[in-house]
């Protein structure tokens, strides 16, 4: 069935509207902070939030069934002075013209930023304070460790959507008021007051939308019924918890809008929405008040909304997070604590909505488990066929165990959701700081091979534990690498804990705290450790390059088949000897299901895990291990010299997180999955990322689609946390023609045969490329 004309029109309107930088909320924040400078920070922030909800210009589009935004315009770039706006000083004039993620600007806004905001906030932002405290050490280790969230609110959290729906705003208000009435310490009274101020603000926001809808319902004849419904929903939600499906979806969206207004943060995610909304859907269905078709339209209106909030980043950041991803991750499917399958009609309707709209948000994540239905797996595959890698696939069988091991209860682990990209988290009970830092272990290996000196600059970056010219055995090298890893982990945690501390001091978030267990019960803000679970996530970058390099060292250098001194000389000079380069490049690599190679990984996963276990963060939580990079394998690779696996200096590291190095997996997708399955997933509770590429044809024929579903079932059995699928397009095939060495693994299906693209003759390649245009 085609998309309804309502959805089509709303989508077109949204995408054709120009994106602007917006300072409306910044003005309110700026004014409130000055006016209430004597109040405690948490109260000041709550007032600024509530003031924004009362004053920000709002609008409703004709035909919208779900309303609300954080700015008047859609997809606006919000200037948020408290965190990091210093980059605007240099970049604001070029903002409309920059290559990646441009935003239009209005002259009066630019003037306001330059003349009012920047002079006042420049030294008061989170970023500048953190920079003052740890700037020197942070930049000294920047090629090894990337400390995140220095200039942005934390986000990376899933609120308790279920409770938000069950209690509604009035119910939450009551809960906070009751706690306040029995509290005597000033700090906690302020905390509860700040929650009450915030929730009152949200209530007011609902009323403002209700009033606007009421006005429009009188003036806009054609859409009168829609506006009446919007009015009814919003007025109801200002007074009570949602009852209908439509009200519940509206409430979920308003939660997201308000959390964004409070934090302006990436990766505030939605959890298992097909589960939370199901009781409302079922009850409406029983009463005969809804059909699947109506529910689908409501879901599509909501999905459109998820694309109206974007994240404005600095030019540098935008290079690596291109397309202003905001990280509205939404989970469908999976099982419950008892192991019962939880797929429902909404799981399928959400897949359908994604297929209809084909937009980047929500970041739809499907939970698979040993009981997943063939129908569900097939529906996921059919949406994947459209490209864009949505939905990404997660595996209950490995994830629940890993989360339990990291300290979550059986129930909370079973109810896990996904934060932002691929990070694993409890829903509504965990501040996981999942993107706290990236740890470039390939760079640590470089320093360990080269007496602590950077291969690119010659600067000394770590203690001298030895070099490839001095180690007498592989074990000696291993020990040195371990010492060096420990050295940098200590520095990384020192830096991260400082960043965490400054978030606590500068950015209390009372509204978010009201929807995260157990902040209200404890009377502690979520940034101070009020949540039930309080971890921080550290990512290892990149396991493929590490073990491919170690395999060469173990099997060639320390067996005297290759001189260590010579290899060191070669990586220092970026492999002038092409013969030696060929030798190391052609050696067995991770990603080909070779147990002797793949098994190298776990020693290091275990070692880093055990090192992280020695520390606690400032909220009393653990450090969780992750193996994903999203796209930072490119910038991180820039700071790494030539590596023993034959990667040249400055080139990208392996992509994703646990993907094999580009072009080194030669045995097809099953071998990649087998290699990836050898990791100790039980120790990796912060998430992993595996990218796989397929040609569109795999998804076009029923028979091969069934094979693909078989692959997904095997993925579940293999106990790998995550996989996502790229469908190869024409551009990629052209790139493969130009640089065949990087595309050795590209499988292509043509005219009933599957083949490696780069092995085909030029003429045939051309023919396939021409035909691919038709397939896509």
């Amino acid at each position: 069935m085609p998309v309804s004309s309502r959805i089509e029109q709303l989508k077109n309107n949204m995408l054709s509207e120009k994106r602007y930088m917006s300072v409306e909320q910044a003005r309110i924040i700026h004014e409130t902070h000055q006016k209430y400078s004597n109040e405690p920070l948490v109260i000041r922030r709550a007032i600024a939030f509530a003031e924004a909800l009362k004053k920000i210009t709002i609008r409703i589009e004709d035909g919208e069934l779900i309303v609300g935004n954080r700015s008047y315009g859609v997809r606006n770039g919000i200037v948020y002075p408290e965190c990091g706006i210093v980059w605007l000083e240099k970049e604001i004039d070029n903002l409309p013209n920059r290559a990646q993620d441009p935003f239009q600007t209005r002259p009066e806004d630019v003037k306001y930023v330059k003349e009012i905001l920047l002079p006042y906030w420049k030294d008061r932002t989170l970023e500048s304070q953190i920079n003052k405290k740890i700037g020197t050490i942070d930049s000294a280790i920047s090629s090894i460790v990337k400390i995140n969230q220095k200039g942005r609110s934390q986000g990376h959290i899933i609120p308790n959507v279920e409770e938000w729906l069950r209690l509604g705003v009035p119910g939450l208000l009551k809960k906070a008021q009751e706690k306040r009435s029995t509290e005597y310490t000033q700090e906690k009274i302020s905390f509860y007051d700040s929650i009450i101020i915030s929730l009152e603000g949200v209530r007011e926001y609902y009323r403002r939308y209700a009033n606007l809808a009421l006005n429009y319902s009188q003036s806009r004849e054609c859409y009168r019924d829609d506006y009446k419904e919007v009015y009814n929903n919003c007025i109801a939600l200002s007074n009570r918890a949602p009852k209908s499906f439509h009200e519940a979806v509206q409430a979920v969206w308003m939660l997201m809008v308000c959390l964004q207004m409070e934090s302006n943060a990436a990766s505030i995610s939605l959890g298992r929405l097909d589960q939370y909304l199901y009781p409302y859907f079922l009850s409406d269905l029983e009463k005969g008040e809804i059909t699947e078709q109506i529910a689908l339209e409501i879901i599509e209106c909501f999905f459109l909304k998820l694309n109206q909030i974007v994240c404005m980043r600095s030019g540098e950041e935008a290079k690596y997070f291109a397309g202003f991803p905001i990280g509205f991750n939404l989970v469908i499917g999976g099982k419950d604590e008892q192991g019962a399958l939880l797929e429902n009609e909404l799981s399928f309707l959400m897949l359908k909505a994604q297929k209809d709209l084909h937009l980047p948000q929500p970041n739809l994540s499907a939970r698979l488990c040993d009981k997943s239905s063939d129908m569900f797996i097939l529906s996921c595959a059919e949406v994947l066929a459209d490209g864009g890698g949505i939905p990404q696939i997660f595996n209950d069988e490995s994830i629940i165990a890993a989360l339990k091991k990291s300290g979550l209860s059986n129930h909370d682990a079973s109810e896990y959701g996904i934060v932002g990209c691929v990070e694993l988290a409890g829903c509504g009970n965990m501040l996981g700081w999942s993107n706290a830092a990236m740890f470039n272990v390939v760079k640590v290996l470089e320093l360990t091979l080269n007496h602590g000196k950077c291969l690119l600059t010659g600067c000394t970056l770590s203690p001298d534990f030895g070099g490839l010219d001095t180690y007498n055995s592989y074990e000696e090298l291993e020990n040195a690498l371990k010492q060096n890893i420990s050295y940098f982990i200590e520095l990384m945690i020192l830096c991260h804990n400082t960043v965490d501390e400054y978030h606590k001091m500068n950015l209390p978030t009372p509204f978010l705290s009201s929807v995260v267990d157990d902040c209200i019960d404890k009377g502690i803000d979520v940034t101070s450790g009020g949540a039930k679970y309080n971890s921080s996530g550290m990512q290892i970058v990149q396991i493929a390059n590490l073990i491919d390099s170690l395999a060469i060292l173990r099997d060639l250098v320390f067996t005297n088949r290759l001189s260590g001194r010579e290899l060191l000389e070669q990586i220092r000079l970026n492999y002038p000897d092409k013969k030696l380069l060929d030798l190391v490049k052609s050696y067995c690599k991770y990603g080909n299901d070779i147990p002797e190679i793949d098994s190298l990984s776990n020693q290091w996963v275990e070692y880093i895990y055990s090192e992280l276990c020695k520390y606690k963060n400032i909220r009393g939580g653990n450090f969780n291990l992750g193996l994903y990079t999203v796209s930072s394998h490119v910038p991180m690779g820039e700071s790494v010299g030539a590596t023993c696996d034959g990667r040249l200096a400055g080139m990208p590291l392996a992509d994703g997180g646990i993907s094999p190095s580009s072009g080194s997996d030669l045995c097809g997708p099953t071998a990649v999955l087998k290699s990836a399955s050898k990791l100790r997933y039980d120790l990796i509770s912060n998430g992993t990322l595996l990218n796989m590429k397929f040609s569109p044809a795999i998804f076009k024929e029923k028979e091969s689609l069934e094979r693909f579903c078989g692959l997904l079932k095997a993925f579940v059995k293999l106990g790998i946390h995550h996989v996502q699928f790229n469908v190869v397009d024409k551009e990629e095939l052209l790139a493969a023609q130009k640089k065949p060495e990087d595309y050795k693994n590209l499988l292509i299906r043509v005219a009933g045969y599957t083949a490696y693209f780069v092995e085909l003759d030029q003429k045939l390649q051309d023919e396939i490329i021409r035909r691919t245009e038709n397939i896509l």
Binding site: K579, G668, T670, A671, K674, E701, E703, L747, G752, Y753
Partner: protein
């Protein structure tokens, strides 16, 4: 060659068009047929084989000097020529070439024991189980190494892995019966209905193939007939009609039509061999629709592609 050793051209994982589910295909080396359109000419000889890449060749002559059997020479136009009669497939020339001179020579085929093969084939067991797949023996022609294949199939069955055989059916009844016994599925290639034309295109007669096909059809095993549809050989409407009549008379239920493709052309160049089908365009799925419809009148299940 010891009994538990065979010569294998290649092992390809994640094959999704050679029988049901996700499969690993083992390409046995050696084939008695000489099909003019063959896309795997390097699989014909039942021994290791050297392939030559003209583009990479530096015409240095190192291979000529290295060959212990004097099997390599230069032709008048300066190209490397390998004397098939003399070449033992030892690979010394390829080693010499790879190290210094552009890797123009490469060696194809590897002697493998059943144990070594099993270690590789068992790796994807979880995928076979999840998709209803298994292992497919292809080639070359698996019948040329039927005793070895039989041992391998036995080991696979011990691991509860199903075995499909893609075969030309060209062998003695005695050998074919062995294959029939260990196969769970037979993908039986039928290239022509007319003996003269069959001989012309493949170099062998139809009689053995026919009697083995009948043997297979009479067995309880699942048989899928596969027809490579080849221009200037069996691609006319008349051909489709005759195939239809033949399949009907044999009571064949399932036929796959494999459109002619050009994956082999580059290989002929590397083998320095002439190729009858040089530059003849591949057939597309669309090109076979009419052909398929004609056969569909006589056969229950006809599809284009494996």
């Amino acid at each position: 060659m010891p009994n538990n050793t065979g010569i294998i051209l290649n092992i390809q994982k994640f094959c999704i068009h050679d029988g049901p589910g996700i499969r690993t295909t083992v390409f046995f080396k050696g084939c008695p047929l000489r099909c003019k359109w063959c896309s795997n000419p390097e699989s014909r000889w039942q021994r290791k084989h050297i392939m030559y890449d003209l583009v990479r060749c530096q015409h240095c002559g190192a291979c000529v000097c290295a060959c212990p059997r004097e099997a390599i020479s230069f032709s008048k136009d300066g190209l490397v020529r390998i004397n098939e009669e003399r070449c033992s497939g030892c690979g010394i020339c390829a080693q010499e070439c790879s190290e210094k001179h552009g890797s123009a020579l490469s060696i194809h085929g590897d002697y493998m024991t059943t144990d070594k093969l099993m270690r590789e084939l068992i790796k994807d067991k979880v995928f076979y189980e999840s998709s209803g797949g298994g292992v497919t023996f292809s080639g070359g022609e698996v019948l040329t190494q039927v005793n070895f294949a039989c041992q391998l199939a036995h080991l696979l069955h011990e691991e509860e892995i199903s075995v499909a055989c893609e075969t030309t059916g060209f062998a003695s009844t005695y050998d074919f019966q062995k294959l029939l016994n260990f196969s769970d599925i037979i993908l039986f290639d039928v290239k022509h209905y007319d003996d003269k034309k069959h001989f012309d295109g493949t170099g062998v007669h139809l009689d053995k193939i026919y009697s083995n096909l009948k043997l297979a059809l009479a067995s309880p095993k699942k048989v899928v007939v596969r027809v490579p549809v080849i221009p200037f050989f069996n691609y006319s409407k008349e051909d489709a009609k005759c195939f239809g009549a033949l399949f009907e008379s044999l009571n064949i239920r399932e036929v796959n039509l494999l459109p002619f493709h050009q994956f082999g052309q580059g290989k002929y160049e590397k083998l320095t061999r002439d190729y009858t089908y040089r530059d003849i365009p591949s057939l597309q799925k669309e090109d076979l629709e009419d052909y398929k419809n004609i056969i569909s009148k006589k056969v229950e299940k006809v599809r284009i592609g494996g």
